[in-house]
Amino acid sequence: MTKIAPYISSENTTQNLMIEVGIALLPCTAVSIYFYGIIAVKILLSTVMFSFFTEIFWKKIKKDRIHDGSGIIIGLILGLSLPSTTPFYVAGIGGVIAISSKHIFGGLGKNIFNPAILGRLFLMILFPMYLYQVNNFDGTAGVSLYPMIKYGGLSKIIGDLGESMFYRDIILGNRLGSIGESSIIAVFLGYVYLVCRKSIRWEGPIILLGTIYALNSFASPMPFLNIVIGGGLFASVFIATDPVTSPYTRSGYGFYLVLMGIFIFGIKQFTSQPSGITMGVLGANLMVPIINKYTPNRVFAKSYPYVKLVKLILISSLVVTGGFYTLTYKHEDKIPKGINYTNLRKYFGSNVEFEEKIIEDGFIYYPLKKDGIDIGTYIVGDSKGYGKGRVGFDLAVDTEHKIKGLTITHEKETWRLGDQISSSYWQDQWIGRDSNYKFNKEIDGFVGATYTSKNLHRTFKKILKIHEGLFDKVYSGIDGAGGATYTEKSDTDENIDIEIDGVGGATD
């Protein structure tokens, strides 16, 4: 097929792009070799060599002749993001993993995750001793200053060095951390070069670092340190701006970087990770297909798709709040299965402690405690309804054996007759009633469907009777010393069991 228009093409090519990134990395490489000497040379050489040969290996397998040079760049970025304590063979393994991950996803342009960062993640998991190590607080050896900031000890360093010396070292590069981001000036030179060559969008690093700074200013006394230490600077210029794993529209790009900033901050602040760069970048990479879908540009003479943007914001806030919730919520694992947490919180509030559950006559009793004091019981069970279908309910009973709350969880009663038990009005009626309550047809029953509520009343009465028998001793002691323990109750369990059974049968 003959080529169609355009018959001319711009001079920038993908290879040139890679070369430009390589040139931009030169100051960082030079600084790292200056400060770390032979160690840095070893790390960089091994990552680059291993990446290069892995790339050739994969190209041979795929019978692809064109070399785009991305392998070398990925190796270089990976090497520069490693700390100086990494042995060269570990760095080499990282290079192999990085390039393989790229090719397993389908080669250049198809990888979801940034290869260099994925390689680094593997090394963090496989060799934590080299990548997490913090030797001592005087700054002689260690992976990064970041853990020291996070776990204290920074003031000691500043005190030892003096504030001006400390900041001078941070800017010029005489400090710990990934070998590539030793010097702020070197990273900045790379940034300026890339922006001048239009290889990256100039606003990228500013948005990412701005987000991290803004979030840290709430949580940390020195937010500036949080953006310059811990890989954030290097990542913002060379890793977050990777074209393949970032969205293609400008608005999507900005959104992606803000999201990445939130992830990085969240992981640093709420997890055991010393710095959240690696995980944060990968998390944001995962969101890229969604961001691409919802942030198109405004088409000429059409209105901006605000609905899509709102959807995206909703989805990502869901992700962020979900992640935040899982990271910060601590009691969830203690809630027994089968309890509806929403109902539980409605009746007893949060921070409830659980004790051993008791199963009586088909009903499950969960005795609850709050700050060591009994507050009531949460009962899950079901009852006969009108027909064959069962009615499921959650019942909250307080220490005085009165109903504290009722929720019908499932029912299959007649439409508009028996199914009115699902209404909150009917359910709220039961609050405050005890086992002596007499069934009132006028209030509790429905016209044409008294059986449903009658059966439920019978079941509730039975439960309350059992409840009285089970917990009478325990709860009566509350007014006094309040020291009733669970062991006493378990001794009496069997006796009560028999006794209650009899009563329950009589009522029927």
Binding site: L17, W202, P247, Y248, T249, A301
Partner: protein
């Protein structure tokens, strides 16, 4: 770099190759045969009005516009019709009329404008077969309808190499302004704007000098960005308004400088379009020139006239390098052909997979996502192109493929998608 004045979104700046910007328009000597096609415009082909063996005069109608969306075709010379054969132009059936020149120069009686009313004026423009000479070849008489408030003259010529409009502006400044004045009087328009890109300094100078006499006409200097010459982009740049499909929505008419010159000549002397200014340029041409060429001239005669470097030339292109199409030496000139370029063997960078850098998205003047079209075309999901990524908004400017660092064939995907869309609608 960061804060360039934004006239419209996106756009690129291809390397300027204005080889012929200082070359005066020359008249090409008459030839023995002309081959005129009946589809030189957008719309339905004209119907042949002559038979083989007929004697025709210069300016005589030989193709008839039977429907509104069509244009008349006129004979470029006096002579005899020797052959009428069926040909295929862009998928449409059309005819090619061969006229043997007798060099007598007999002229057909020219029409004159009878009265200065919009209806008569429109009829005249229709009869003279005037179409948009900027390259789109939209029949002009359709534009001259209803209430019009603003006239925009397109002197942007944003494609590299081309200089036809530039030279017209320099050499026929007064005629253009007279043409604008006539149109503004007939249609009672309020404002006239001439948009010129800032790399055509001489044209701007001359136009600004001449425009001083007319208080309601002004010259607007525009930055050099491709595709500013597109109708939608030009209106956005000049009036800051976005049109959906036609400028009539905002009571505006846009005309190319060549078109307004043709209108002026048609109104004053009744000359139909039988010749146009063509830039013959490129690395493969010995003497690049701006030529006034009769419509229907075979390409090989033109190339012979300017001299072709057979060793360096790779392909011959009609119109500009961004939106043009490849032509053979047997093709003929048409009304829309504003340039004939013999491009040298350009070494294209190797084709690589898309790296999703988003440059095509940034340069797209219509705010589309060209890389998605390539992705969908590879999967064969053409129906999604229109549904999710509004393919029909594409103006086919080719900016996305120009800027692509991986040489992804984006235009191929877009044309394929448009074709499939048309097939489904039929």
């Amino acid at each position: 770099m960061f804060f360039k004045p934004i006239f419209f979104r996106g756009g690129i700046h291809p390397k300027e190759k204005e080889i012929t910007s200082d070359k005066k328009i020359e008249k090409m000597p008459e030839l023995g045969t002309y081959r005129v096609t009946t589809l030189q415009h957008i719309g339905m082909p004209a119907v042949v009005m002559v038979k083989v063996g007929d004697q025709v005069k210069k300016y005589q109608k030989i193709g008839k516009a039977e429907v509104k969306f069509s244009a008349f075709i006129h004979s470029p010379c006096s002579g005899k019709v020797t052959q009428i054969k069926k040909i295929n132009i862009r998928g449409y059936e059309a005819e090619e009329i061969t006229i043997e020149n007798d060099f007598l120069g007999e002229e057909f009686k020219r029409e004159k404008l009878q009265s200065f009313t919009p209806e008569k004026f429109q009829e005249l423009v229709d009869n003279l077969g005037i179409v948009g000479l900027g390259g789109a070849t939209f029949p002009t008489h359709i534009k001259l309808e209803g209430k019009l408030k603003t006239i925009i003259i397109n002197g942007v010529e944003c494609e590299p190499y081309l200089n036809a409009d530039n030279r017209v502006m320099i050499e026929s400044t007064d005629e253009i302004l007279e043409g604008i004045k006539i149109l503004m009087t007939i249609f009672e328009m309020e404002e006239g704007i001439i948009g010129i890109e800032e790399n055509k300094e001489k044209a701007i100078e001359k136009m600004e000098e001449a425009v001083k006499e007319y208080p309601r006409i002004r010259v607007q200097k525009l930055p050099t960005i491709y595709p500013q010459g597109g109708e939608k982009q030009l209106i956005k740049a000049l009036l800051k308004k976005e049109i959906k499909s036609f400028p009539r929505e905002i009571e505006t008419i846009t005309l190319n400088v060549g078109t307004i010159l043709a209108i002026y000549r048609g109104v004053t002397s009744g000359t139909p379009i039988v010749e146009r200014i063509v830039t013959v340029s490129g690395e493969g041409i010995k003497n690049p020139k701006n030529l006034s060429i009769p419509i229907g001239t075979p390409i090989e005669n033109i190339l012979d006239y300017v001299g072709l470097r057979k060793d360096t030339v790779d392909k011959i292109i009609a119109c500009g390098p961004m939106m043009g199409h490849e032509i053979g030496e047997t093709d003929v000139t048409t009304k829309g052909m504003n340039g004939i370029l013999a491009l040298g063997k350009e070494k294209f960078p190797p084709k690589l997979p898309c790296i999703k850098c988003g440059r095509c998205v940034d340069v797209c003047p219509m705010g589309l996502l060209p890389l998605e079209y390539d992705r969908l075309a590879k999967k064969g999901k053409y129906h999604q192109m229109e549904k999710e990524f509004s393919l029909s908004s594409c103006i086919k400017c080719g900016s996305c493929e120009y800027i692509c660092p991986s040489q992804v064939p984006l235009m191929e995907a877009i044309f394929l998608g448009l074709e499939k869309e048309r097939d489904r609608n039929d």
